[in-house]
């Protein structure tokens, strides 16, 4: 693809922009929730209270998959000798794995 690296860069920064509020929110929730110990009921009670929670976590999963995989690809390219097509495909697979696991987890809490 023409200007592949540029588009990956844009996707990575774009997904970071999506992640930013979600992570902050997630951090807030964690901070709020941890006090006094966690229970499944509490977690699920919250996440099932509104369709917005699962939607949010789904978006989180997609963005994290894109962001993390592109990030790893860059790090591996720069810090190891591994590069080229096999790296691209592996990180793509990693993105799909993250996405799959993420969506499955969302399904659980939905």
């Amino acid at each position: 693809m023409k200007r592949l690296e540029l588009w990956l860069y844009i996707a990575q920064r774009g997904s970071a922009l999506v992640l930013a509020p979600l992570v902050l929110l997630h951090l807030g929730v964690i901070l709020y929730a941890v006090s006094g110990g966690l229970t499944a009921a509490e977690i699920l009670g919250r996440t099932r209270s509104s369709a917005l929670w699962p939607a949010m976590y789904a978006l989180f999963a997609v963005a994290a998959a894109v962001h993390g995989a592109i990030g790893l690809r860059v790090v591996i390219r720069e810090w190891t000798a591994w590069q080229g097509r096999s790296l691209d495909l592996s990180t793509l697979a990693f993105a799909l794995l993250l996405l799959l696991l993420g969506l499955r987890a969302v399904q659980v809490i939905a």
Binding site: R3, L4, E5, L6, W7, Y9, I10, R13, R77, W79
Partner: protein
């Protein structure tokens, strides 16, 4: 004031070793003077490069105790750690001999980044009217006094990790051109830095700005390019 300094100098090319010399110290003495002393008085076969000796030609840069510096403007006092100075050829460039590197790859990057003025068709016979406080003029002026010493190129780890990376100096030059209202090919300059190892390969390490001997800030220029390129790409202009 007279003492001696232990000076270790890289000998060889890509393969080589450090060789130690004792050099008498002087009140006014630059790292280039140490090297000159060794070549003139101790070992006539030592190779290094300099020209202007006042910090304008950018040919004397070397690694001094692990840091890239312009040696003609670096006082020994500033770098001598416990009476010892270790001098090596600039990093991230092929070594020709001893302290002299081949700088051609560095200038090749400048060209790849289309780091050269393109006259505009409209250029009249007269010199363009450009007020000095025009924001674009100020951006261009801030980055223009690059002496091409490759210190930033040598300091940047991304250059080391990705040898095809255009590098801070080339991108900095491109930024001055993108802001040059007289230039006739803004789009061409942007396209040249939007390549795979272009401006967005930079991770904002800022070692370039940290080490630039003339105080330029390539990080800033690169950040500027990243934005322009990003919007141009999103708008489908690239």
């Amino acid at each position: 004031m007279t003492g001696t300094l232990k000076v270790e100098i890289w000998r060889g090319a890509e393969e080589g070793h450090f060789e130690a010399f004792e050099v008498p110290t002087q009140p006014s003495q630059t790292v280039l003077d140490l090297v000159t002393y060794v070549q003139r008085k101790l070992d006539p076969s030592l190779a290094y490069r300099f020209a202007c000796r006042v910090g304008v030609c950018g040919s004397c840069a070397m690694m001094v105790n692990g840091t890239p510096r312009w040696t003609c403007r670096t006082h020994v006092n500033k770098v001598a750690a416990e009476g010892k100075v270790r001098i090596a050829p600039l990093r991230n460039l092929p070594v020709i001999k001893d302290l002299a590197t081949d700088m051609a790859p560095f200038f090749d990057r400048m060209q790849e980044a289309k780091g050269r003025f393109v006259p505009s068709e409209a250029a009249a016979k007269d010199v363009a009217v450009v007020p000095p406080d025009d924001p674009k003029r100020k951006e261009a002026a801030a980055g223009i006094e690059c002496i091409g010493c490759a210190v930033c190129h040598s300091a940047c780890d991304v250059v080391a990790w990705r040898p095809d990376y255009l590098g801070p100096a080339a991108l900095n030059r491109a930024w001055t051109l993108v802001n040059d209202v007289r230039d006739g090919d803004r789009q061409g300059h942007l396209a040249a830095v939007a390549v795979d190892a272009g401006c967005h390969a930079c991770h904002s390490h800022q070692s370039c700005a940290e080490h630039c001997p003339v105080g330029l800030n390539p990080s800033r220029s690169i950040a500027g390019l990243k934005q322009l390129v990003l919007w141009a790409a999103v708008r489908g202009e690239l």
